[in-house]
């Protein structure tokens, strides 16, 4: 099963582009898998279209984004202006959630979320929606671009300067916070640098200040002396330190391993040999992250059982999979607030390490909140969400009426039909005998039928398989 044979995988085979074959056909589970990892889930129509289109065409579309992106960006930008002006923390989260939900290019939002977790900066300390939005833009712009450019730009990002105290770092009194996290968390990983490197590098990051709404470089406060970092000596400034870090052998494998955990699997740590070719490619291409993403998503390994359902859905994934599947026009503000209880408050990671993810998303409390949130979204009786995502309306849209059709429809939509036969039978049995159960006397036939459909949808969403990504 998943994880068992990862250590013995052939790297050559692993990263070659996937071609449908009899052992690994292009089927609905693979379409769903791609949509879950490279986007935030799919609608019924998208699943059917993806199946027809084939892996290359579908991946191409997800990498490039759909039509209407420019208009969408313009509309969201106009909303962002008032959020920045009034420092509106509540709508800041709702805004990004709305982007993730409605963007024609969800892969870009997903990668931005990856970078947000990587450079984990929290509004709790920055306290400025403008700066958080600025950092978001920075991450999004470079999401599928070059990591080297992103890392360079990050050293002067206002939100980061506040978060890791860069703006307090002055000549003669440098603050080591950013230099340390740059090496430990952003580029190299623990064990690939020494304390002295951190101290010296900190001197190179001095001189940045925040004036009004911008980050400004104050040469007077910059320590332009000679520094020795990771074996290289010179009058290094911020860009130089970034360059030096990226020249280290450990940089590429560190990032590739992180992306592996994000895209391929959380259950088994990959062997260095498996990642070596990717790391090599990443480094040689001057850290072209877009190419790395493309290679990973197009690979045999990605479409194999080693990657299928080997992650736990993060709260954002969980919630957006449901809303997208139900084709709902959801209240983004209420949804963003409910994500807090599930443990993922956008723009406010718990610490600079970000969200640990994986199994830590699920414990006795968060799982219960997930199930209850799924109920709130589908029952139409919750004041926060109303009838925005009505499974009964969706079933009517696709003309699914009989019990078997409905069961198969929801299993198809959310799990691509990939559940144990026993589960399907149980659901079908429940749906059939639900007709006989008493309903309140004043409900109409239509109301009872709709209620059954909504309950069925909720039951499908509570299946343990749905927690898997």
């Amino acid at each position: 099963m998943a994880g068992a044979g990862v250590k013995n995988l052939d790297p050559l085979w692993a990263w070659q582009p996937y071609r449908p074959s009899t052992e690994a056909p292009w089927n609905l589970p693979r379409v769903g898998h791609l949509y879950r990892r490279a986007a935030f889930g799919a609608t019924y129509a998208e699943l059917q279209a993806g199946l027809k289109a084939g892996p290359e065409a579908l991946l191409d579309q997800l990498l490039k984004g759909g039509p209407g992106l420019a208009e969408f960006d313009a509309q969201m930008a106009s909303l962002a202006q008032s959020i920045a002006r009034y420092n509106d923390a509540t709508h800041l989260r709702a805004w990004w959630l709305a982007r993730m939900l409605h963007s024609p290019h969800p892969l870009q939002e997903k990668i931005t979320l990856f970078w947000h977790n990587h450079f984990a900066t929290s509004y709790a300390k920055v306290q400025s929606a403008r700066f958080m939005l600025g950092q978001y833009e920075l991450l999004r712009r470079h999401a599928l671009g070059r990591f080297s450019e992103l890392l360079r730009a990050m050293s002067s990002d206002p939100a980061m300067l506040i978060w890791l105290d860069g703006r307090d770092s002055k000549k003669g009194n440098p603050n080591e916070n950013y230099a340390r996290e740059l090496m430990e968390l952003f580029s190299l990983g623990i064990g690939h640098y020494t304390e002295k490197d951190v101290r010296e590098a900190a001197r190179a990051f001095t001189g940045w200040e925040i004036q009004g709404t911008k980050a400004v470089f104050n040469a007077q406060q910059h320590d332009d002396g000679v520094k020795t970092v990771l074996g290289q000596t010179g009058n290094w400034n911020a860009d130089d330190i970034v360059r030096i870090c990226l020249e280290q052998k450990s940089a590429a494998p560190f990032l590739v391993a992180k992306l592996y955990r994000f895209f391929i699997s959380e259950t088994a740590a990959p062997s260095p040999e498996l990642l070596a070719p990717l790391a090599q490619q990443f480094r040689n291409s001057d850290y072209d992250f877009g190419a790395l993403v493309k290679t990973m998503l197009a690979s045999n390994l990605f479409f194999s059982s080693h990657a299928y359902r080997t992650r736990i859905k993060s709260p954002v994934d969980f919630v957006l999979n449901i809303v997208r599947g139900l084709e709902g026009a959801i209240d983004a503000t209420a949804l963003a607030q409910s994500l807090e209880q599930l443990g993922q408050n956008l723009f406010s990671p718990p610490s600079v390490k970000g969200w640990d993810g994986g199994k830590s998303w699920l414990n006795g409390q968060t799982l219960l909140f997930r199930q209850n949130l799924a109920l709130a979204l589908t029952s139409t009786e919750d004041a926060r969400f109303g009838r925005r995502c009505d499974p009964a309306a969706l079933a009517r849209k696709y003309h699914k009426e009989t019990d078997a059709e409905l069961v198969d429809f929801f299993l198809h939509l959310f799990l691509q039909g990939d559940v144990a036969a026993q589960t399907r039978m149980r659901l079908l049995h429940y749906q059939q005998q639900a007709h006989k159960l008493p309903a309140p006397v004043y409900w109409t036939q239509q109301d009872s039928a709709d209620q059954r459909v909504r309950s069925l949808c909720h039951l499908v969403l509570t299946l343990p398989e749905f927690q898997l990504d």
Partner: protein, 612 residues
Amino acid sequence: MRCFLCSVRFLVPLTFAAAAARAEAPLPSKETVEKQALERLPAPTRLVPHQVDLLIQAPQPCRLLSVLTAEDLLKPLQQVAPVQEVLHSTKVRRLGQLVAYFEKELGLPWPQLLDRLAGRGVIIGVQFAPNPTPVLLVVEGEDEPLMQQFFQLGLKVLAQELARQEAKDKPIKGSYKEYSTIRIGANFHAAVAGRALFLSNSEKALHAGLDCHRSGGKGSMADVSSIKEAAQLLPPQPLVSLWLNMTKLRQTPGAKAAYKDPPYKDPPRNDPALTIGYGQYLNLLGRTPFVCAGVYRDKAGFLATVRTPCGREDMGADRFLHLPLASAPGSRPLLKPKNVLYSESKYFNIANVWKERAALFNEKQVQQLEQFENKVAPFLVGARLSKLLMQAGPYYRFVAVHQAGIAYKTTPKISLPAFALVWELREPEALGKSLETILRGVALLAGGKADLRLIEEQYQGCKLVGYRFPEDRPLLGDVYDLRFNFTPCFTRVGDQFVVSSTLDLCRELVDLLRQEGGAPSRGQAATTRASLYGAGAAAYLQTFEDLLVTQTALDQAVTPKEAREQIKALVDVLRGVGELALEARFHAKAFQYDVRLRTDFAAKAQTVQKEK
């Protein structure tokens, strides 16, 4: 959805009278005879026991419902997206289904059901007693067998609902004298007696209500004299009316704790702010045997009025501060500049704060006041606080308006309304001069940090003294550039002293005050008048359009363009609200507090029609 039978009832006496006047009177129909017999029956207050301390009744539920669902009220509200969402929600639709079910089972459309089951009124009685506070709900109709049917049907549905939710409690039949009762759990008791339905959370209350029914109203609220007094105090035919036994309320432990030590009814009180702010109301509440209120609908809009049988007579020291002499007006006319948001006019005899301090405050507070007067003397540049207070008059007015134009080049990020305080002076010349000197001094001190620039202007014969913020430098702490909402200034117009946050508003007020003239009797009898204006509020809300658009776009999941349209609909509704006016008036032996909502929806709808 008009209540056909309700409207017919009003016509009946007229037709009968008209018919009787003719020589050959046609025989009245059986229905009219029945109706007349019903007319002679007493009101449903006879079904509520006399121990009730709070009574709320809707004497004609039909009319109430038709008012609430009236076209001109519902339509504009329905344009607002969140309201639409609530109306289409599952819970509301299920409620509709429930009503449809009752219609089907009982065989009548719901307006007729309402008339037959609740035509004589719905009444709620509450007694001030500890847990649980007994509440009795009585619904009286016209149709005895229908009431029984309705009750049985209701119980059936309720029992099923309880079973559906796996609740522990089931309906248990019981009896009390010749009535059969139903109990669910410890807190739900119900019975039907004749044409009336009784519901209560306390068994004792239910039994008391049934006793009233048995005795034909002996020992019920109908016999309580203050109910009749209240009915006379209030205008006729309220939609909903309320009566509260203040004597009993004052005896509850919570109120006692607030009213003892020393008694709050009369000053001096522990907290001088209460005496200054609300002395007259506290005194009233301490004396009055009951308070009654009613809600009405008239052509212009809605009226809610609260009345008591006590007035200016017997008011103690509070009258020094809050009551004018019988010959003087209660307050000056309301000022209504352009784009007004809020305008108020009050009587407050500030001179008596000093003159009658011995009667109004306790020793310690008087000492503190005198000490304060001494402390503040050096700041007042020669004048003494006591003298200033004595020179001030008893009438003041306050306005807040939406600023359409800003006097600076820089636009503030958040627009604030302009506001002004207008105070009447007893000795205009002297006090005017003192105030001017003091305010200039204050501006010098406060303005030092902000570098205010002085502007003096002559306008219509009045000298306006104002200050501007410099536009070329930032002010520490003012992230949103709020200071550009202000050009604080002051002036004197006859016996009125105006302090305003902007020069534009000041000029407008000068014009309005000059128009008003200086007749000493100008004004109205009400001691407090305040109004909120929908048009001004709508204009002010529009300055936050971008914030509202973002919020709406995210909450309603629509594009910015659609969000803008939704905001426009909301603003139109707000504009249609017209005016919310509050008024307090003290008569010799009565007091009334009126809240009027003058809606403008009809006018809007008409203009829209005409445009089409």
